[in-house]
Symmetry: D2
Subunit: 170 residues, 4 copies
């Protein structure tokens, strides 16, 4: 199983990235194969034929399981993450990828954002998103205990989805 | 696999009910085991300890795969469907159920409603909802062709989810 | 200015109703003219030509300012409130009404629900909804301090909207 | 009344920009005072202390009426527009601004996106958004007839909001 994490925080090596990596590791038992810190793609994100961005898109699209993580900006995901997602093909850019929407925020008020706002974008890209979106309070970004209830509840469902062989018809 | 359909149209034996049954049948190859036409539960829906409503809730909660269908009223699902869903336990009322959100409407304008509005309610109840929400234009409610692209795209994912044995930990 | 409050809590004389009344009173300086405790309409809500429901709909539609209040059930407004709203005419059922979406919940997690979920229904009915949706934690339902920041921020905008004379063209 | 338009299309001088300008002009009877074609800000958008971006933010924040326009990418607004909006201050970055959410798309399927997805971001920034979000099919981007029903219905409400003097308390 190829596992990637994508973090869309304008600050490199952010808490968001740490949280995404921790979630992937807790889910699968090993570190993710690929880590995309979107901000590192820089101005190439504004260019629709940039090699680094295309490579990152291909890496994500070729994964079995991807955690998409964002801090909460203006009550939703960041423009930076969406700018990256806009490079994927609509409908099938994430086909055969099982995706997990993860958002972090200063307090609990934006708890609904990953489910109501980030998940639908991933579904529009064709991802299979079988679990509830996960929201984690910033200061708990590296606290495995904060992720444990979600993993207990949804982990086996996510892993089962990510390891389902793609049928010929797909 | 136990399969149910739930339709929340104030008109009994509605196009919504027909569409939900057609979707379930197209997915699984046989008619659904249980059909809940919510309006038939009548005033019991306003009572929080009504035997018929409790029985319907238990039937749905004990299913492996459930199509939840609603016409579009005021750009979202009906109050009637939500009134029924309010009888389920939050978080685990639909645990171990794979759910499909289906909405019908007069025209294409409300296409986003099943994904953005109906799906999150089912997830809040604990359902596994691995596929994109489906929106069908009313007049195609009994036209299997209208459902075919969604079934080709998401059918095997839904069936795989519905037939995954529940692990001890769940 | 004719002011009404509508509360969609299955429990009569609920905290939701109290909160809605407090908000209306704090906004305008006097008690609302009309109070609709939706649950009191009973089984008539399931009937599409019930005189009591029609009268309540007309009262609300004829108001200048209406607070629509709901507890949070399954991460959104109640089926009971939506069942009542389904009786209004789409597009113009609340035309010339300034509406305020208010939701209460046990904790802060569902803070986004009035803005993301309840407001769009009111807009679909044609209401003018110029302010952010308001979310109040249950236990503060009768604490005017909990409402004060929202009223300071949005009160004059809401009142200005509600007191704008309807132009001939409308 | 100071009127601005903001268009978040990765293509400069896009249909989106044309549509936003047409809407502003139709609403007010004259061309907008300021036109922000977000893509022209280029890589400065990825920098959190860029003078051109700050100037654009100040221009928008100092307007009375702003049309925020986006094409539909992945069933919602573009990352480019959100990247610009992320530069505003949460809660009051658009205080005292009356905003109109406008989205364009190839077909009618994403009609709900401006109301459900773009409007809440503007409200989170503190804008007053009294009208329903507007969705226009791409090919009608410069057809005043396509905008007329919305302007007839919501124009006077928007103008009234934009011309309301800000009270001392705000």
């Amino acid at each position: 199983m190829i596992v990637s994490v994508v973090a869309g925080n304008p600050k490199p090596a952010s808490r968001t990235l740490t949280a995404a990596g921790l979630l992937a590791t807790s889910l699968t038992g090993s570190a993710p194969d690929h880590v995309i810190d979107v901000v590192e793609l820089g101005a190439g994100l504004l260019n629709w034929s940039n090699a680094s961005v295309s490579h990152a898109v291909d890496t994500v699209a070729g994964s079995d399981l991807v955690v998409f993580a964002s801090p909460t900006f203006k009550a939703t995901y960041t423009g930076l993450l969406k700018l990256f997602l806009d490079h994927f093909s609509t409908g099938d850019g994430l086909q055969d990828v099982t995706a997990v929407p993860l958002m972090l925020g200063a307090g609990p008020a934006h708890y609904l954002a990953p489910e109501l706002l980030l998940k639908p974008v991933l579904v529009e890209l064709g991802a299979t998103v079988p679990a509830a979106g996960l929201y984690i309070v910033d200061k708990l970004h590296d606290d495995a205990e904060a992720f444990a209830p979600w993993i207990d509840r949804w982990g086996s469902i996510v892993l089962s989805s990510a390891s389902t062989p793609v049928t010929a018809g797909d």
